[in-house]
Symmetry: C2
Subunit: 169 residues, 2 copies
DNA sequence: ATTTCCATGTAATATGTTACATGATTAT
DNA sequence: ATAATCATGTAACATATTACATGGAAAT
C-alpha cells in the first residue's frame, strides 16, 4: 500500500473551514493559524491545488489578482471520508483532524477521541512492557540512563494524553 | 542553511553504543531497541554506512558473512560535536540524543534537559498567548471547537513535559 | 527610489519509502 | 523441499525544502 497523502486533505480542510482561499492565503495560514500543527511551503501548495482542481475537489475563481479556491460537493465528500477513516498511531494526524472539526456536537469528535484513546492505551501498555523488559534491574538503568529516561518520559506522556482524552471523551 | 541531517548521527550513535554493528543489525535495532524513537530502512542504512566510511567516521571489517562497522576517533569527535550542538524545538531530537547518553553523570545530560526546558517554557508561553488571542470569548470556542481542543491539549502537553524536565533536571 | 509584501510558478536538491533483485543460511 | 531469515544492494517513486525567477502593488 502506498503511503497516505495528507497535504491535499489539509488544503481541502483549510479551504472548507474558511469558505474560500487563495494559494497565498493558505501559505499564510501555515505561518499563523494551523502553523502550530502542520506546515507546507508554497512550492507544495500551488501544484497541489492544481491537482485538486483537476480531480474536481475544488473550483477556482480568479479576480484578476488572486486565484481563490472553494470546495466542491465532490471535495466535501472526499474530506468527510478522510476524516472518517480509522486513525493510525500518529498524534499529529489526530490533532490535524480535530482542527477541521468546527462543531462541538459533531459525532466525529467523540469518535476520534475514542479511537485515539484506544490507540494510546495500547501504546501505553506496550511502552510499560518495554520498560520492564529492557530495564529489569537497576544495573541496566545505570548502563543506559538516557534510554531509561526517555522511556519513562514516553510512558508519562502517554499517561497524560490518556487522562486528557478521558476527560474530553 | 541546508537542513540538518540526522541519520548519520543515529547510525554513529548506535554503532558507538554497541561497539560494532553490521548494516543488517542496525536495521534490526530499528525494529526493536531504538524503534520507539527513530526509524530508518535498510535502503537508507547501507548507502549511508558507505558514505560514513568514505568520510572516515567508521571502519569496516568483513568476516565473510557480514560487514561490521565500528566508530573511529574521528567518528567519536563528530558524534560528540553533534550531541553538543544546541537543541532545536524538536522533541524527537531531544529523545534521540538522550538515547545516546549512557552515563548518568555525563554533564551533557543536564545540559540537554536544561536546553529542552528553556525551549519548552517558551513554547508553553507562546501557546498560552495563542489561546488567549484566538479564543478571547466563548463564541469563538463554540465556532472552532476542534481547534480549541488541540490548543488546550498542546498546552497541557507542554506543561507536563516541563514538569517532567524539572523533576529530572 | 527602493524596500517590503503580494502572488505564483518551476528547478534543483535532499530525504525517505516501496519495490525489485540476488544469494546464502537456517529452520520446518 | 521449501519457507523464513540473514544480508546487501539498487531503482523507481513520492515527498519536501531551498533556491531561482518574475511581476505587480503598497509602503517608507
Amino acid at each position: 500500500m502506498p503511503k497516505k497523502r495528507i497535504l491535499p486533505y489539509v488544503l481541502l480542510g483549510l479551504i472548507n473551514n474558511k469558505g474560500s482561499l487563495s494559494g497565498y492565503q493558505i501559505s499564510q495560514e501555515f505561518k499563523h493559524e494551523v502553523g502550530d500543527f502542520w506546515h507546507a511551503s508554497h512550492s507544495q501548495i500551488y501544484p497541489e491545488l492544481a491537482r485538486m482542481k483537476d480531480d474536481g475537489w475544488v473550483e477556482d475563481n480568479n479576480d484578476g489578482k488572486s486565484t481563490y479556491y472553494k470546495i466542491t460537493d465532490e471535495g466535501s465528500k472526499v474530506m468527510r471520508t478522510w476524516l472518517e477513516e480509522p486513525l493510525e498511531d500518529n498524534e499529529e494526524l489526530f490533532s490535524l483532524k480535530l482542527y477541521f472539526i468546527k462543531d462541538k456536537s459533531d459525532p466525529l469528535l467523540k469518535s476520534l477521541i475514542n479511537q485515539e484513546l484506544d490507540i494510546n492505551k495500547k501504546k501505553y501498555d506496550y511502552l510499560k512492557k518495554r520498560l520492564a523488559e529492557v530495564f529489569e534491574d537497576d544495573n541496566k538503568i545505570q548502563d543506559n540512563y538516557g534510554h531509561y529516561l526517555i522511556l519513562t518520559r514516553a510512558i508519562e506522556r502517554e499517561k497524560n494524553h490518556i487522562l486528557w482524552l478521558e476527560k474530553n471523551s
